[in-house]
């Protein structure tokens, strides 16, 4: 069962600076939630907090719970801007990284499943290559397979495609939308187009301390093509919202 995630009264401070306080965010079950906002507002910090990755220098507390009452940190998979592939492992070994990091039965079944997924994303001939031999897009595809292999209902993605060129990014957006369909996905992006292509709900984070504001809800199937009429309007709306968000001064030491 795919859970919804509720974040209530989230507080995060780094030293003297409060990044956000009393932040509320709901991630509806099985939907993609896009989070936009100016650089440095705290999007990554929020995502990392949900992922359980706060550092010792950060003070944080929040009530984060899943609608199925299971622990949140056991239900999430994380995908970062960089592929995080281990250079001493092959593509296949990277895809089944969970076998090394946890005790798993049915190793051969997992390996078979990973091989099938890697074929599905077009990496049939790359199974035994090493990350250094792949392009950025190929590596991020391996990361996508690794994320899928974790079999978690909630996916947290921090600008997963921003380091790629436009065409590769476009293709990977479609791939991700297809493979991670019906999961609860929170993804951070700097690109309003990406949010419009993939999200069912779009939030903008702004201010200091930061708050999140819902700016759009789309119900049509993803990945959307940017020629859809409602998207043209929403594009303009998003740009306006982002411009307004960027003009709110951020106090930075």
């Amino acid at each position: 069962m795919i859970p919804a995630i509720h974040i209530k009264n989230a507080f995060l401070a780094y030293g003297e600076k409060i990044i956000f306080s009393d932040l509320q965010l709901d991630l509806p079950a099985g939907q993609w939630i896009g989070l936009l906002g100016p650089s440095g507002v705290g999007k990554s910090s929020l995502l990392r907090m949900i992922a359980g990755l706060t550092t010792t220098q950060e003070i944080s507390h929040s009530e984060i719970y899943a609608s199925n009452h299971l622990p949140v940190n056991q239900q999430i998979a994380y995908m970062a801007q960089t592929d995080l592939l281990l250079p001493w492992l092959t593509v296949l070994e990277n895809a089944v990284l969970k076998l090394k990091l946890g005790s798993h039965k049915q190793r051969q079944e997992e390996i078979n499943r990973a091989s099938a997924l890697l074929e599905k994303v077009g990496l049939t001939n790359a199974l035994h290559l090493y990350p250094q031999q792949l392009s950025g897009g190929m590596r991020q595809r391996v990361a996508l397979v690794r994320t899928l292999m974790e079999n978690k209902p909630v996916i947290l993605m921090d600008e997963p495609f921003s380091a790629l060129d436009a065409i590769t990014r476009y293709k990977l957006q479609a791939l991700a939308a297809d493979l991670l369909r019906d999961k609860t996905v929170l993804f951070i992006t700097h690109d309003p187009m990406e949010a419009l292509r993939l999200a069912h709900v779009i939030y903008v984070m702004q201010g200091s301390p930061a708050v999140v504001k819902s700016v759009a809800m789309l119900s049509s199937g993803t990945p959307r093509e940017l020629t859809e009429p409602q998207l043209v309007e929403l594009q303009a709306l998003l740009f306006r919202e982002l411009a307004a968000a960027s003009s709110v001064p951020l106090t930075r030491e």
Binding site: Y78, A80, W88, L97
Partner: protein, 261 residues
């Protein structure tokens, strides 16, 4: 299989090895030339600086003696090198896994390095006798610290992204240590091992200088006492050769095993 990066590195490296070796030979020949020129230019007598031809002639005529004395030094070097790496790695692993202890143990380690080798080597001879043990220990002492620090540094500075990923995958601390932190630290360990490869022969020879009955260091000391400077140089050249061969072999082995950087 041909696509395997290990193979690519191998092919590249055989060529590079030949190039590197030829370069070393050219440098060596150049140094010999400079050596000979210094003698000619300043009219240095034989007991100050023997000529290359004299040294190589001694090296050839005394080859049996030198060969016999090379063996103990070689064994001391290799054992010191291996043990130094083993202990250095174990110390680094221990310090990195039990971080709070590092605050106490690291200063102790630094103190052990602050003691000049020449000052402590005679103590080893008193404690362990004239045999190989004291020389091996001297070599271990010289290389232990660079290895520990290099490996420890690598273990403490694992790329944060990988650690984040592992944390989200709920991996246990020892699994992260074994599968991510240790492999990630191997390139830094390799740097430490390269330093150790040049320092180990030095350690063995210093150990011999302060008290030995065999070895190239002992040979040098003996020759010095008898004003046989050519023999001293001959022994010195063999020591240098030992260090170079050890360094280049270890370097090649490390590039094979730790090929991803």
């Amino acid at each position: 299989m041909l696509n395997h990066p290990k193979n690519k590195f191998l092919h590249f490296h055989y060529l590079a090895f030949i190039v590197q070796f030829s370069r070393s030979l050219i440098i060596f020949a150049g140094l010999l030339l400079i050596w000979q020129s210094i003698i000619l230019f300043w009219h240095l007598p034989d007991y100050i600086l023997p000529s290359p031809s004299h040294v190589f002639s001694t090296l050839y005529h005394q080859r049996n003696l030198i060969a016999i004395q090379t063996l103990p030094t070689l064994i001391e070097t290799l054992l010191g090198f291996t043990l130094g790496i083993v202990f250095g790695c174990l110390a680094a692993l221990f310090l990195a896994f039990f971080r709070p202890l590092a605050h106490w143990l690291l200063p102790t380690l630094i103190i052990s390095q602050a003691i000049p080798t020449f000052a402590i080597a005679p103590l080893f001879v008193i404690w362990l006798g004239y045999g190989m043990a004291s020389k091996i220990l001297t070599a271990v002492l010289m290389i232990f610290f660079p290895i520990t620090i290099a490996f420890y540094d690598g273990l403490c500075h694992t790329y944060a992204g990988w650690l984040d990923l592992a944390r989200t995958m709920q991996a246990k601390k020892w699994r992260i240590f074994w599968h991510i932190r240790i492999p990630a630290a191997l390139p830094r360990l390799a740097s430490g091992i390269r330093i150790a490869a040049v320092a180990a022969p030095l350690g063995a020879v210093i150990g011999e200088w302060v008290g030995a009955s065999r070895g190239l260091g002992y040979l040098m000391l003996n020759a010095n006492a008898r004003m046989q400077i050519d023999m001293m140089f001959a022994a010195l050249i063999v020591i240098i050769m030992l260090a170079l061969i050890l360094y280049f072999s270890i370097d090649k082995l490390l590039r094979l095993l730790i090929w991803w950087e």
